[in-house]
């Protein structure tokens, strides 16, 4: 970094990096707002479904008619690991894969397989000694409800056809723009919301068709909603994490530019001083002769 031209080049390169991180921060902020709107919009739907299911399962004594609620001893588990498709979002992805590896170790005496959602997870587990059952990648950019439906149905098929006893989701929960929590959540077999189940409801309804059929039909819909919620949460958390990471990067770039500029000015001053003293001493030498 000795000569002035190099420092100038360095400053301009940091400046262009800063422009990029700034732009990424803005984009993430806009996407975060969109993600939050989606979360708000779908809440009433999720609430109504949860209420109906809790109510119905409280009314149904014979749970054996509902295959998705049947619990078995866990001999084979599927971990659905939700990462992002892209990086540059702080510890977002590494927190998830670390938690997933831990969970795998906890399952060391049972058979456990992974289902990877998001490209970063696939990249991480690609060369590791784990069994990957399936993956879904490159869709977070244009996330819509059909993605959730598709993912749910794929997982349901795997669950039914390959005799898994338990499915868990590992994902980032959106706390705030600067905070994400890693959540491990049981997905299957399905457990109804106990709090709502406890609140008694006086009236009974007419059911068309019968309760068990309705329940069997509505549970997959509820699972769609669960997955949709998880994807939205994860997406919001990703954008939040990226926003924070990019803000830090922008600040750091600012700091760096500041220091480089000071260094540059000092160097420039030093070289001017050297030049002057050279000229002066040269003139002195001429005078003496």
């Amino acid at each position: 970094m000795a000569n002035l031209r190099e420092i100038r080049k360095r400053i301009s390169s940091v400046q262009s990096t800063q422009q990029i991180t700034k732009a990424m921060k803005m984009v993430a902020a806009a996407k975060l707002r969109k993600a939050q709107e989606n979360i708000l919009a779908f809440r009433p739907y999720a609430y109504e479904l949860r209420r109906l299911i809790a109510h119905l399962s409280a009314m149904t004594e014979d749970v054996s008619q509902i295959p998705l609620m049947a619990r078995r001893p866990v001999e084979k588990a599927l971990l659905v690991v939700v990462t992002a498709d892209r990086g540059l979002c702080g510890a977002f992805n590494s927190n998830i894969v670390r938690r997933a590896s831990e969970r795998l170790r906890e399952y060391s005496d049972t058979e456990a397989e992974l289902f990877l959602v998001g490209r970063k997870g696939v990249e991480f587990f690609h060369k590791r000694p784990v069994t990957v059952n399936g993956q879904k990648i490159n869709f977070f950019n244009e996330l819509n409800f059909n993605d959730a439906v598709e993912l749910t149905d794929t997982i349901l098929n795997i669950y039914r056809e390959q005799q898994f006893d338990r499915v868990e989701f590992i994902y980032n929960e959106f706390k705030s723009a600067i905070q994400q929590n890693v959540i491990v959540e049981q997905f299957l077999p399905f457990v109804p919301d106990e709090e709502i189940m406890k609140s008694p409801r006086q009236v009974d309804f007419l059911y068309e068709p019968d309760k068990a059929t309705i329940l069997n039909n509505v549970i997959p819909k509820h699972l769609h909603v669960q997955v949709w919620r998880i994807l939205l949460e994860s997406n919001a958390a990703e954008q939040g994490a990226r926003m924070t990471a990019m803000e830090n990067a922008t600040d750091n770039a600012e700091e760096m530019i500041h220091q480089l500029t000071i260094f540059y000015n000092r160097k420039r001053q030093a070289s001017i001083t050297t030049e002057i003293s050279e000229i002066v001493s040269g003139a002195e030498a001429l005078k003496e002769s």
Partner: protein, 139 residues
């Protein structure tokens, strides 16, 4: 004064409709049925089909839905469905494209095609086309 029936249509993307109406006709899985004010408390599954809302003597509106369920209680009808689109807003071109895609998938002989899913997609596309065309023919 006649009792009013409040209808609420809720989808994952938010509330599509909320208002007082005279009656509402729904595509139940056991056959279509109509809900009038003072209907008995009911929970019913809904199939792919059309929802008709009679708002007053002059206005009737139609929606295409891909199924879900509905709940009637105390003159409030909640329709909880995975999608509901007002007929006027259906994009016929998109629906046609979806229909073609589904048909092609059903025709292809590849192994990895999920037949039930393709059938459902086809049924949904046909339903949207049907509802949109029906409403267009009214105007």
């Amino acid at each position: 004064m006649a009792m009013e029936l409040t209808v609420q249509i809720v989808t994952p993307y938010g509330e599509v409709f909320r208002g007082e109406v005279q009656s509402c006709t729904l595509p139940g899985t056991e056959g279509g049925f109509q809900v009038l004010p003072l209907h008995a408390d009911l929970v019913s599954l809904l199939d792919i089909g059309s929802i008709k809302i009679q708002i007053n003597d002059q206005t009737t509106r139609f929606l295409a839905t891909s199924g879900g369920y509905c709940e009637v209680k105390d003159n409030v009808l909640k329709i909880i469905v995975e999608s509901a689109e007002f007929a006027e807003k259906i994009d016929l071109k998109r629906a046609e494209a979806a229909r073609k895609r589904a048909e092609q998938r059903l025709k292809s002989t590849q192994d990895d095609i999920d037949i039930p899913r393709a059938r459902l997609a086809l049924a949904r596309a046909l339903n949207r086309i049907r509802v949109a065309q029906f409403v267009n023919s009214l105007n």
